[in-house]
């Protein structure tokens, strides 16, 4: 299938990405040629076939449970060290609830 510019806008919104009109025009060609290519999957009859989510985890025999113990983790400082904007021991973000 092919997607149009309106659908590109919709997907971009879902993905929290934004594109200028020019970028969209540049993007849509390769996007559609890739989608056309993967459309070949629809030629295959997969009725009754189970999907594979994980390749090796088909049996439980090699699973092991971790003991339910509290272990040391990040300090507040370590957790904040890579924050782009921090203050008073918190991550700072722009206003979440608008007055509108």
């Amino acid at each position: 299938m092919k997607i149009n510019l309106a659908e590109v806008d919709h997907i971009a919104k879902l993905a929290n990405l934004s594109f200028t009109e020019e970028e969209k025009q540049k993007f849509i060609g390769p996007l559609n040629s890739i989608l056309e290519y993967v459309d070949q999957l629809n030629k295959l009859d997969t009725r009754g076939i189970e999907p594979t989510e994980q390749v090796v985890h088909t049996s439980k025999k090699n699973y092991s449970w971790n003991s339910d113990q509290v272990k040391s983790t990040f300090t507040q400082k370590q957790a904040l060290d890579n924050g782009p904007e921090v203050g008073s021991g918190h991550f700072k973000v722009p206003k979440v609830i608008s007055e509108k």
Partner: protein, 480 residues
Amino acid sequence: MKLDTLTSEKIKVFIEKGKASSKEICQIFLDQIEKSNFEIKALLHFDPNFAFQQAEHIDRMQAEGKPLPDLAGLPMVIKDNILIKGLRCTCGSKNLENFVAPYNATVIEKLEAAGAIFLGKANLDEYAMGSSTENSAYGPTVNPHQPDYVPGGSSGGSAAAVAANMSLAALGTDTGGSIRQPAAFCGVVGMKPTYSRVSRFGLVAFGSSLDQIGPLANNVRDVAKILKVISGKDPRDATSLDVEVPDYVAALGRPIKGLKIGLPRQYQRSGVSEIVQMRIDSGLKRFRDLGCEMIEVDLPHIDYAIATYYVIAMAEASSNLARYDGVRYGMRGTEEDDLTNMYLATRDAGFGEEVKRRIMLGTFVLSSGYYDAYYLKAQKVRTLIKQDFEEAFQKVDFLVSPTSPTPPFRLGEKTNDPLEMYLSDIFTIAANLVGIPGISVPCGSTTDGLPIGIQIMGTHFDEERVLNLAHAFEQSGEVS
């Protein structure tokens, strides 16, 4: 010290016999980095003091008469999507330009305990998304054999560093061939282990049902040694499995006569270039001369592997990369008026074109109305491909193919056509979809001296025999 023929074993002996200190060996490689990195751009960043501290630790152990661990003094570079505590981890992305790893990946802890020295962090396609290292936000790595050719990707920096003697070994990651293809393009050995063989704790996630960490080195023995160190169950990675880790090195040299090698019939019409086909044919002859039996096998659904792979990999990528929101780590865009605009500005400025493309496609195939037609469909075809391999492995011990259908391509040759780039992964992606181990070993070169690699795949957790066969092949001599 002749760098070309150096091995981890020789380094350890040098230190033990007092012929060179770990720090001196470290310095030799750092000199090489200083000399070559400007042109090759294999490393994104390196910290001599960090490496020296590790080397001094080894030298202290030696001075105190303590037994040295297996990889003592081994100079390594680490792909820059694996965390080393206190060093930056950029993932080749602008987004993580200033991100400093707050903890060590499990593979790093294990390598450090085994005495390895980390010289620096290797270049990669942004978030490991690419087959040429050209998608790095910090510029491409070039092929050490010819600087106007790509080193392959996404672990192109790791492979190029080993090939250019800037390190003796490296860690890479392989989601669809990202260790094996650059190993082939740079003329070194690179292995993707079985899915769940090596802990991924501390690896920045790309495609979680596909990603594996693995070693690259100049020879199979060093790959085996490193794999032995990094393998095993890790309580911090629920996808790692509790399966015994054999002594991969001890297994090298076992007889291979009579082993059955499968040649997938479908691979023989997959647009392999003439020169690659010639070298692979000579490679197959070497296997025959070693007493291996060649059997043609069918992988009926393999033609769908690339489509299946890209649907799944992009879906997983779009989900994994949702975490980059500019709040807890990574860069933040300058738009500050409300939260959504901040997310948009962050992701717009932080991600490159290929990453955005994959997030878009991944979001699309997971979105309402398309999930069944694309994502679920691909997962079902993945089952069919997996069954093809299971059936093939009923008849043969290994599957052998070229690692890549072509020799290294020129820088810029495929950057304008993403689909063309994806198609170059044809021989490597199946191992990720099926979760089996695969190794690329040098198999001659083009008349211009560009390396060509041959791939050996085995069944789940059969690294031992794959390495043994690769080692026998390597020892059987170079083809021209």
